[in-house]
């Protein structure tokens, strides 16, 4: 396997969880189905399946709906195998600069999810893929 192939495989082996998915799965008021699906994704991440990247601004937004979301995510980051579940920082890069120039910019949580997807190649797992229609990214519905 070439270096590029390894890089490509790594890039494709994970998801970005946006704030909508976090609230649906962990908010306590969402559909039980979403909660169980997110639970399964977490189990898979800890077993060597696709990793879960949580953009920091998505976590911040989700935590406004339920404070314990941040605590549960922190517990996972601290206990799961390294990198299986991670909170990712917002960084100034070309993707972020581009995101701020689109006609109908998203809120910061959505912008962070989209720019992290651009940077990693991971699809964004969300409840509302149409939220990202202005971005050239891949999305999947929880």
């Amino acid at each position: 396997m070439s270096q590029r192939d390894e890089h490509t495989v790594w890039l494709s082996h994970g998801y970005v969880l946006d704030d909508l998915a976090l609230v649906a799965g962990l908010g306590g008021t969402g559909d039980e189905r979403h909660r169980r699906e997110l639970s399964r994704m977490i189990h898979r991440a800890t077993e060597g399946g696709p990793v879960l990247d949580v953009p920091a601004l998505c976590l911040t937004e989700a935590t406004t709906a339920r404070r314990s979301i941040a605590e549960h995510v922190a517990d996972l980051v601290a206990t799961a195998p390294p990198g299986a579940v991670a909170v990712r920082e917002l960084v100034r890069d070309a993707g972020l600069d581009t995101a701020l120039t689109i006609d109908r910019p998203l809120d910061w949580a959505g912008t962070h999810a989209a720019t992290h997807a651009l940077a990693t190649g991971h699809p964004v797992v969300t409840l509302h893929p149409e939220r990202y229609r202005e971005f050239a990214i891949e999305t999947m519905t929880l």
């Binding site: 490509t8 494709s12 039980e32 909660r35 399964r40 517990d75 601290a78 891949e138 999947m140």
Partner: protein, 95 residues
């Protein structure tokens, strides 16, 4: 307060806090993984990100039809075939 969990208890912790996945949840996540793998194959084949929209849409539509817990078809097999067909059609249309 930070919780220091025993890694051996991690799965029990996940079940307690996030809920125990049932067969329906396992099926949906299996389909999501197959969908992600199909999208990754398209990216690897074309060398471009994101996958062409018509191809991604075909994979999404097929994935939606595989989520039923009673569906015993292999999502990896089906979505990889759909990805190959959709990409071939897209490239034929583009040439």
């Amino acid at each position: 307060m930070p919780t220091k969990l025993d890694p051996a208890d991690l799965h029990a912790f996940i079940d307690r806090v996030f809920g125990t996945p049932d067969a329906a949840a396992r099926r949906v996540v299996d389909v999501l993984e197959a969908q992600a793998a199909a999208l990754a194959w398209v990216r690897d084949t074309t060398g471009r990100y994101p996958s062409p929209r018509p191809v991604a849409a075909a994979i999404q539509e097929a994935a939606n039809g595989l989520r039923d817990v009673n569906d015993e078809r292999d999502p990896n097999q089906i979505l990889s075939a759909i990805a190959a067909e959709a990409l071939a059609a897209h490239m034929a249309g583009a040439s």
